[in-house]
């Protein structure tokens, strides 16, 4: 097994099997790190907790819901305003967060009464919202509060409200992934099948494992609606609580982030016979193949093809402009879970960059299988990386850019490596054809930033190039290009606007009107 041993981790032998290099002749049967095991205490891992996996990652993107955490205030505060999952109802769920504010006396005497008061107060504060999710936390799980019983009591007293309970305290699993699992299963057990939807199309899907980061969901929903497909629910980005109770009526589950949401798709397949189709919304070719498959499923592949042709014609020349300038640039692909495989191959194929390393904070071995399968030879794959290993890897690999989270991005900054936010994006959305160009544009802007160039100069001993007042990105990026490519009239830089999502909310969809008319 081609394990990679970090110098900084020789003293913790348990780490030895958590990093591999996919060398020549290696495949998944010889190169796969361990994954989803308990974290080594004190290693300064990047992992979060199961509460955040349930509440922050999957629960909160649901837009028309009061998201109440039963516990001390910190869990709630900490998972508030640290994500970019927007919604088309003026971001209610981004703006408002609710904590039962458990104090010492409640720890001693129980906090169920406090919780009940909280639930009622929260509905009173937002009378237009009739749906609630409640999340347990470490403290209230340990004192054994029966949240489900309290929720049931309130629902009996207030018949117009509906409450979902997710018991996923922070300690429930090695990482946030434990919470993904718990909320998937809790939702399918308790809520799916409790609402019968109005079916308005012959083509009905759930869009699963999509969290509307900077509008990703809305970009994809736009394509689906252009095909005349009724999206019954999105699990959970920009998703509606009652829509998600009706998931059982879809003809097809279209799954994006299998890491966080494959469980519910698997259960829906077993319980309701809805097949699971895994897709990629990132990248021209994978997205085109995905739209085509969905079209084929319903016998409307011509509609898919029309979108693919129009979008490709519109945006491919812009993607190619960046590809020419990003070729050979070295990337550390260091996201949380699914993006390591969503992006590993397609950024290489469509943007020309070399993925020199991939890591996953909370992924399982299944994510690493996909990621390692999709990356090129020589890439260093790390499970549950820690601070020192990340630094050592960057020193060794010398990436031109890394895709990771906000805080690890600050680590990279200090060793003069620019970063792009892999979770929240810089200037997304990154899904869809235009989104993919936006991603390429952001990578280009990061790698060819004149400021990052300046960071290498030591004015105390280097020769200061005093002949220039400025440098443009193109002076840096175009220097090795042939004149034909540099001056190509076929290719162009990104021409979209700052906000590519809001205009989608105003669109009209002829096929949707047509299918409505049928009903």
């Amino acid at each position: 097994m081609p394990f990679h041993e970090f110098n900084c981790s020789t003293c913790i032998p348990e780490r030895r099997e958590h990093a591999v290099v996919k060398g020549p002749g290696e495949d998944l049967t010889s190169a796969l790190p361990l994954g989803y095991l308990n974290t080594i205490p004190g290693s300064i891992s990047e992992r979060g907790c199961a509460y955040c996996g349930a509440k922050h990652v999957i629960g909160t993107p649901m837009k028309d819901v009061i998201h109440l955490s039963h516990g001390p205030v910190g869990c709630t505060y900490d998972t508030w305003q640290t994500k970019r999952y927007i919604s088309d109802n003026d971001n209610f769920q981004l703006k408002n967060t609710f904590a039962s504010d458990v104090k010492e006396k409640h720890i001693v005497f129980g906090a169920e009464g406090l919780l009940k008061k909280n639930i009622i107060e929260a509905f009173q504060a937002f009378p237009e919202i009739k749906r609630m999710t409640i999340y347990s936390t470490c403290a209230t799980a340990l004192i054994g509060d029966d949240i489900g019983a309290i929720a049931q009591e309130v629902m009996e007293e207030m018949p117009d409200v509906d409450i979902f309970v997710c018991n996923s305290p922070g300690f429930a699993g090695p990482s946030q992934s434990g919470g993904h699992h718990k909320i998937n299963i809790a939702w399918v057990n308790n809520k799916v099948g409790t609402v019968e939807p109005k079916i308005t199309s012959d083509y009905v899907i759930n869009y699963v494992g999509e969290y509307n980061i900077q509008g990703d969901q809305e970009v994809m929903i736009d394509y689906f609606k252009r095909m005349g497909i009724q999206v019954l629910s999105t699990f959970t980005g920009n998703g509606s609580y009652d829509d998600l109770r009706a998931m059982h009526r879809a003809h097809l589950n279209v799954l994006e982030c299998a890491r966080s949401a494959e469980y519910i798709c698997n259960e829906l397949r077993v319980r309701y016979g809805i097949p699971r189709l895994d897709i990629d919304g990132f990248g021209f070719e994978p997205l085109s193949a995905s739209l085509r498959k969905i079209g084929l499923f319903f016998g409307i592949e011509d509609r898919a093809q029309a979108i693919i042709d129009a979008e490709t014609a519109r945006w491919k020349p812009e993607l190619d402009w960046y590809k020419e300038r990003l070729k050979g640039k070295k990337v550390c692909l260091w996201p949380g879970g699914s993006k390591l495989w969503h992006w590993a191959n397609v950024i290489h194929e469509e943007m020309g960059v070399e993925v020199v390393s991939l890591y996953t904070k909370f992924g399982h071995q299944g994510d690493m299988e996909k990621g390692i399968a999709r990356c090129e030879q020589g890439a260093l794959a790390i499970d549950d990386p820690n601070e020192l290993e990340g630094l050592e890897a960057m020193e060794k690999l010398k990436p031109d850019v890394i895709f990771t989270g906000k805080r690890p991005g600050e680590v990279a900054k200090k060793i003069r490596v620019p970063y792009l936010n892999a979770h929240a994006y810089h200037n997304g959305p990154y899904k869809g054809y235009e989104g993919w160009v936006r991603f390429a544009r952001d990578i280009y802007n990061a790698i060819y930033s004149p400021i990052h160039q300046l960071s290498a100069l030591d004015i105390s001993k280097d020769e200061i190039p005093a002949d220039k007042g400025f440098i443009t990105r193109r002076m840096l990026s175009d220097i090795h290009l042939t004149p034909e490519i540099r001056d190509s009239s076929e290719m162009r830089q990104y021409t979209g606007g700052y906000d590519s999502v809001s205009p989608l909310r105003e669109r009209d969809y002829p096929y949707m009107n047509e299918s409505k008319a049928l009903v």
């Binding site: 300064i44 509460y51 516990g71 900490d78 609710f98 039962s100 104090k103 340990l142 200090k414």
Partner: protein
């Protein structure tokens, strides 16, 4: 004309002003050199706090977790602390100070952190790290008590009480800043330097604002040393600027070592800065030099340009850390403004006895409300449903949507201020802070006038 002090009526929190104690303890710990804390609890208690600091400072800070998982929650997790200490010490050879910060989970399960520290001191540290100076310090920070404010207070006391050791008088002044920004520390040190006062600053966090260096050596961490902390027992006096963030440590030093202390007031605004200098003079006997008379004069000059023309009568709501909020309110009143609503965001029952609150109650000449145990819903509800008219909000970034959605201009101040660039570099304390605050408030009002076309032409001649 009354100033009413009330409690939030609801039992829960909608849109909190604070996070919990462990975050405060972590903020204190990153101020110490060669210190990496271990937070004993679930991983989220660290991951999100590190994210919060990185949002505010746009920097990375090292804090470790004992990563308590299901088995630990059921059977006890002290073995996780033991392993965490060993792993941390093995991989970070410079680390000398390791606070073990508890959380709700490990307090509920009753992990004896003090006991395990004793065990580690006698066992692991002697067996494996005998030639190394290592301090393990228990910081009890259950999340269901107090807030980030008390967590900071508890941690500062834990550090001081662990290290402070009586020897020869140092002639130095202890300056406990409370929860401030690097820009504040710079200003405080400048003031002390002008007075030729040698001070131990808890904590030296100017280095949080760290560079990108050509040799990649830049790193953000505090620079208060073990020697600094040890020497606090030998100072001529302690000045704790914030009653609720560092006050405990000042009292500890006074009770334990007889170090005279003055707690507060937070030196926000001219008047409180004057008092600060007065207190420095009282504790050190050093005179206030002409240079500060001049600096003060420049600040008053700047304020005179703004107060009665632009700031007078402006109605302000302020939320955040209690010492900060009270200091800002006092300054606003000096600026002829009307801080009509103050929101203090935790259940500390002593705020209502704070002499500064009492003084507001007896002294203000307009309707003022102070809400204790408040959340941001208390602010939003008053604006939306109770006809509270505001010209300005002062507070941290978590309340940004109250300002945005209700079209009230807002000056970001306090912690965190992640939705504005570089505010941690700017002071709110001292004369320099008075200038920055007043001008920031004025410019924010000006921008709002222009955006709303509300007598924007008035700025043509000024």
């Amino acid at each position: 004309m009354t100033c009413e002090v009330i409690q939030k009526g609801r039992s829960g929190v909608i849109n909190p002003i604070f996070t919990c104690q462990p975050a405060g303890a972590q903020y204190a710990s990153i101020g110490i050199k060669d210190c990496i804390g271990i937070v004993h609890g679930g991983q989220g208690c660290v991951m999100f706090v590190r994210l919060l600091f990185s949002q505010h400072f746009k920097e990375n800070f090292l804090i470790a977790s004992s990563s308590v998982h299901e088995d630990g929650a059921v059977f006890g997790a002290l073995n996780r602390v033991e392993e965490a200490v060993d792993v941390l010490l093995m991989r970070y050879p410079d680390v000398k100070v390791v606070p073990i910060i508890t959380t709700c989970s490990t307090e509920v399960i009753g992990d004896d952190v003090d006991g395990v520290i004793l065990k580690l001191n006698r066992g692991l540290l002697q067996e494996k790290y005998a030639d190394r100076e290592v301090h393990l310090i228990a910081v009890h920070a259950p999340s269901f008590v107090g807030s980030q404010v008390s967590g900071y207070d508890v941690a500062v006391e834990a550090f001081v009480s662990h290290f402070a050791k009586k020897s020869e008088p140092s002639g130095k002044l202890n300056l406990i800043t409370g929860w401030v920004n690097p820009g504040d520390v710079t200003v405080l040190k400048q003031l002390l330097a002008e007075m030729q006062v040698d001070a131990t600053v808890l904590f030296e966090i100017e280095s949080f604002d760290s560079p990108i260096m050509p040799d990649k050596s830049g790193e953000s961490h505090g620079s208060t040393t073990i020697e600094d902390l040890t020497g606090t027992a030998n100072a001529i006096g302690t000045l704790a600027l914030n009653r609720y963030e560092g006050g405990r440590a000042a009292r500890y030093l006074e009770n334990e070592f007889g170090i005279p202390s003055i707690i507060g007031p937070t030196p926000i605004g001219i008047r409180n800065t004057d008092t600060f200098l007065h207190n420095v003079k009282a504790l050190t006997g050093k005179p206030i030099p002409q240079s500060l008379v001049r600096e003060r004069g420049k600040a008053i000059d700047a304020l005179a340009d703004l107060v009665h023309m632009f700031l007078a009568e402006k109605r302000v709501a302020i939320y955040g850390h209690p010492d900060l909020v009270i200091g800002l309110a006092e300054f606003c009143i000096d600026l002829e403004m009307k801080p009509v609503l103050l929101l203090l965001g935790d259940d500390n029952t002593t705020y209502k006895n704070d002499p500064r609150i009492k003084a507001l109650q007896s002294g203000v000449d307009f309707e003022m409300e102070i809400v204790l145990n408040a959340d941001l819903m208390e602010l939003e509800d008053r604006i939306k449903n109770k006809e509270l008219n505001l010209d300005l909000i002062l507070g941290h970034s978590k309340g940004r949507f109250v300002a945005i959605d209700n079209n009230v201009p807002m000056v970001r101040v306090g912690f965190p201020t992640y939705d504005r660039a570089g505010l941690h570099r700017h002071p709110v304390v001292g004369y320099a802070g008075a200038i920055w605050l007043a001008e920031e408030m004025a410019n924010t009002l000006f921008t709002d006038m222009e955006y709303k076309k509300n007598k924007e032409w008035i700025l043509n001649v000024w």
